[in-house]
Amino acid sequence: MTVLETKRLAGPADLEQWRGDLRQAAGRITKRVRICLGPGCVAKGAAALYDRFREAVEKSGADVEIQTKCVGCHGLCACGPIVIVEPGEIFYQQVEEPDVAEIFRETVLSGRLVERLLYQHPVTGQKVKTADEIPFYQSQRRIALAGNGFLDPVMLEDYLRIGGYTALAKALTGMTPEEVLLTVEKSGLRGRGGGGFPTGRKWRSCREAHGQPKYVICNGDEGDPGAFMDRVVMEGNPHAVLEGMILGAYAIGSHDGYIYVRNEYPLSVERLKHAIVQARDAGLLGRNILGTDFSFDIRINRGGGAFVCGESTALMASLEGRPGEPRAKYVHTVEHGLWDKPSNLNNVETWANVPAIINNGAAWFAAIGTAKSKGTKVFSLVGEVVNTGLIEVPMGMTLRQIIFDLGGGVKGGRAFKAVQTGGPSGGCIPARYLDAPVDFDELTKLGSMMGSGGMIVMSEDTCMVNIARYFTHFLMDESCGKCTPCREGLAQMLAILDRITHGDGRPGDVEKLETMAGILEGAALCALGKTAANPVMSTIRYFRAEYDAHILQQRCPAKQCRGLFRYQISVEKCKACGLCRKHCPVEAIAGAKKTPHVIDQQKCTRCGMCLEKCPFDAVLKV
């Protein structure tokens, strides 16, 4: 492809001229291979695919220009690595290095399909050609993820081609800050980071607050385990985040921006840094943006690996170079935030929605979603679900549609037990509420929350007491220790959950947990502490019988808590191969050639080694 030099744009006319040139140049290329380099595909070796395709292009000596392109996460991670071939948007899945030569020869050069790499429709059994025909993609509506899968995140040119920075040009030259603010207010956009606070109202409070300078902050400290939406936006389309922030800064009257990215996402930092340099060079960031009087710059801070820093006041403490300890909420950060100045903090996905709202108008955005939750939401659909990956759907879609229609249901045909939403501050929602629409208020009613958008599907094999213990342990570990209810309360709750999952629970333990949860909710300092009991409370609310089975019968119904179930060898299935006997660390298995083996329950330590080693699935949990 013709590399066009980055130029400093003197105004919107320059921008449009450049965009036109880029589109023309891109239009001349008819053959293109797009390789997904999202976190899932990279873990499965997608980076090497890119190199192989490059080599194939170089070697082929074809007389037409063929472009190979790395793109951000395409969504359907379960089928990765994903490769798309233009023309025709041919969707190839689970592509491995040896497949590259065949795709290149057949599809890229000759326009024929490689049948075996196509996706098989789960209902019709037919092979399908494009992503549009796959149920996982069909009900999605992409705003924050609109550029993902199409653009190369390190190419500002790609973002411009799909209409990037048009919203910025429109706002800076045709709208007052007040008009930008009003548009966001009327759109009904609410914070995507968890709380769901109306974005426009936050902006207005910050704009009206006394004090200068004002800070605009992007929260990229995506700490909820099971969530990777923000990572994919930062790594797949970093300019969308920057454009959103610049628009926000213009509306609020800020000239200094920060992006706080968690330490576990080094690639996000790299992509954002790269994008910032590009935007500065092009005159889209920094002094006199697009030739106007408006100046705004952004710098990046990397987190230190503390979950609590996702909380806004803790994040600001961290930005000031201090330990990330939250403070009481009655002092609002929009008035007294970073360095005690008015500060407006929004999450990555929230920022990425802003350019589309300015481009298409408030009414367009407000027409999507439910009465009080507008627009779309990105979810990471993970756990025991068939189609693990990233989805963006309109607010109001039901859990059933998400998990079964898009997600393809529970893996291995097992029964659905619960879906965990909202990260460690959220809760587990049982099967009987599968038809609940997903929006901020409905999930809160069910004792969970939207959170940042993690959606972890759990099957009948997941013990709900164990999962409550897991989250409590996580939160105790991550508690900053500033306030007593969180620091001490969580440790006590964990001690109780520990003994329940070890079979030493006592009658009354559940009530004790409930009492402590109540204190935590009422007395903890920050949102992390106030919601820390949600995993415990929601599992008690919906799965009380499981707690009782552990406490009263020393039995784990999901057969997950060690010691609360037994291993047994099926006489019918056992082929007497002796593998389990050989691997048993405590010599608890007896048996001889041609005689089915038997576990001595007195000696058995329930380590599960026999189950792992048995090639015939003859070891059962009972």
Partner: protein, 163 residues
């Protein structure tokens, strides 16, 4: 770079601004592999803040290390999805087999072991990262195989090596 110059260069990079203390300490760790106490003292003096201020930051955030790291860096994701899929058992096995604490380094200096809360690759859980390379869908067996295959460079054995 000579030891005395490292702090000087880092402070200059951030104009000595105290708000950039965490990035400065991150750079120091990147340069030395960990936070050596003499360097921390130098940084505190240079910024005119008490050493305790730096120590508070170093011990609050899990990514800071006050001891040298091993030749290899092993990160195991123990986020919710990885947990559901058995990361807890893998973590337990690594700690037992290699006699290494979470956040610690093996006695021979082969690798540092850090379980972390979600690396954002949940779709392919459980995930282990060795020296930046992602391994998806690991099991106890495959994790062991990967770690047993790590080469140990003789010259720096004993955990004293800087990367």
């Amino acid at each position: 770079m000579p030891d005395e110059k490292i702090v000087e260069e880092i402070v200059r990079r951030y104009d000595g601004e105290i708000g950039m203390l965490i990035p400065m300490m991150q750079d120091l760790q990147a340069a030395c592999g960990y936070l050596p106490v003499d360097q921390l003292k130098r940084l505190a003096e240079r910024l005119e803040v008490p050493l305790s201020r730096l120590y508070a930051v170093a011990t609050f955030y899990t990514s800071f290390r006050l001891a040298p790291k091993g030749q290899h860096e092993v990160t195991l994701c123990v986020g919710t999805v990885c947990h559901l899929k058995g990361a807890g058992a893998i973590s337990e096995m690594i700690r037992e087999e290699f006699q290494v604490e979470a956040g610690g380094t093996t006695a021979d200096g082969l690798f540092s072991f850090q379980p972390v809360n979600c690396v954002g690759a949940c779709a392919v859980a459980p995930v282990m990262i060795v020296d930046g390379k992602y391994y998806d869908g690991v099991s106890k067996d495959s994790a062991m195989k990967i770690l047993r295959g790590l080469p140990l460079a003789e010259a720096v054995a004993g955990g004293e090596g800087k990367p």
